[in-house]
Amino acid sequence: MADDMLAALVRPDKVHKRVYTDPAIFDLEMERIFGQAWIYVGHASQVPKPGDYWTTLIGREPVVMVRDRDGAIRVLYNRCPHKGAKLVADGCGHAGPLFRCPYHAWTFALDGRLRGVPFRQGYADTGFSLDDPQFSMRPVARIAERRGFVFCSLAEDGPGLEEYLGGALASIDNFADRAPEGEVEVAGGVMRVMQHSNWKIFFENLNDTGHPQATHESSFAAARRTVREKLGGKTPFQLHIIEGNGEPNSFWESLELRCYDHGHSYMDAIFNAPTDAISLEYRGQLEAAYGVERAQAILSMNRHNTIIYPSCSPHTGFQQLRVIRPISIDRTLVEIFTFRLKGTSDAFFQRTISYTNIVNSPSSTVMVDDVEVYRRCQEGMASDGGDWISQHRMAGHDTPFEGGLLGAGISEVPMRNQFRAWASYMGEAVA
């Protein structure tokens, strides 16, 4: 497809349905977006010791993140240069001192360099060489780490990670700053949910303040009835996080939506910081580590979902990270990671786990309705009932600032901002 045709699919206040339904566009996205942007790969705490590895996808490319013997983190294509076999099985594991292919036992150092091949005499005078990079595992073009969060880019050139993240960088720093020891670690398991819809639909929803009251009515209405009929009107933590979606229009209008170049954005927190004994103990730990003033500054950066386009979304307040992996034009895998703030109590972490179970589990009474409406979008978009997807809410009212756009609480500016980035990756910038 010609680049000018691609650019014509994105307008300032609407996008053409083809961006969600055309497999040829998905193929181009894998090449032009996921082949260029910084993509979240994993967290350093998932590979604590040399030889530990974690596999994932960058676009369609299977990669393995591994801790090398010198302590550095490497990210390599999970592909044997001999026959192409994936060298390690999907998931996490320990390679030992070397990667060893299960097919013909070629071995590779943890930085990917070929170390040995059986039947060496057969390679004499063939052009094969242990030192030739084409016979080693290929490293990804660029790797960068921030507070343990590892990102990769498959492109040699482009902005560095910090420049790329812009104002979203503060969400990653704040995620780690919230730990009294200044470090976080992946803990408590990973959940994987398959959505039957295009990956962009999920990203658009993450900062969509217009949907909670309608989409999540069933869960917040049920929670309210439980509170009224079973709990004498008192809302426990576990229902507070379900009921939040039922806030009235004025609440959503009062929020702020801050968008940055490259598609990133965040919305203000929708849950107030709890004031129970666990939270007070935590605040005390943070004050002891940082001092009262700095602790207050850390906690007052209270963001709900941050969007790090196009690969992940941290929720700093409850230590969640959702990682988005497009599988095909109408399939999206979302992986949910929970983090422990180093220096906090088990009780604090158990509440984090409770949030994971209630909000991000495949059984979440909240998320099921999201996933249902995403699928209905995907099915409806395929129809001939219309060609355009509206993003008109407060269009024309975005306030530019250095490096981004500011929108009022109910604005669809995060979606417009995502497509500004999309168009720039895919072809020409939108006028």
Binding site: S218, T226, N357
Partner: protein, 162 residues
């Protein structure tokens, strides 16, 4: 351990009745089977021992079960239009532990789950029921643990109790 055949029969009957309540979407009657502090747990990992410091597919007390069952009947539960239908078979029922206060019952299950317009899904795994009470008529569920064979796999959403 070879349990008293009559007791095993009573335990199996208890599980069959529970299955009937779930397949019939009789959530309130099902929830009444639980002891006051009874828990419904579907681990995320095989052999998961800890439901507090590790995420689970479900880990629900009376309050969370109450929200789930009410939500399933909400008019605007979009993902229940139309509702989820299930049929399950429970078998291999064995009493694996027993003391004066109750017993532990292990079983295997197969659940077929279907919604109009969606693919039919087959679920399989093992149930472990910790029942408290000295006689079958007094049994209450202290813990229902559901170990799915694919608990650590990629999941579509879960809506109804398994």
């Amino acid at each position: 351990m070879i349990a008293d055949p009559l007791l095993t029969h009573a335990a199996a009957d208890y599980l069959f009745r529970e299955a009937e309540l779930l397949d019939g979407r009789r959530w309130e009657d099902w929830d009444a089977l639980f002891a006051e502090d009874g828990m419904y747990w579907v681990p995320l990992r095989h052999d998961q021992q800890d439901p507090l410091n590790h995420a689970s597919l479900f880990y629900e007390d009376a309050i969370l079960r109450d929200v789930r069952r009410r939500r399933l009947e909400e008019k605007h539960a979009w993902s229940q239009q139309p509702v989820t239908r299930t049929a399950r078979i429970v078998g291999n029922v064995r009493i694996v532990a027993q003391d004066g206060e109750g017993l532990r019952v292990r079983s295997a299950f197969q659940i077929s789950e279907w919604r109009q317009g969606r693919d039919q899904r087959q679920l399989a795994g093992h149930y472990t029921h910790d029942l408290v009470g000295t006689a079958p008529g007094e049994w209450r569920i202290a813990l229902k643990r559901v170990d799915l064979i694919n608990c650590d796999g990629i999941q579509d959403c879960y809506e109804v109790f398994l």
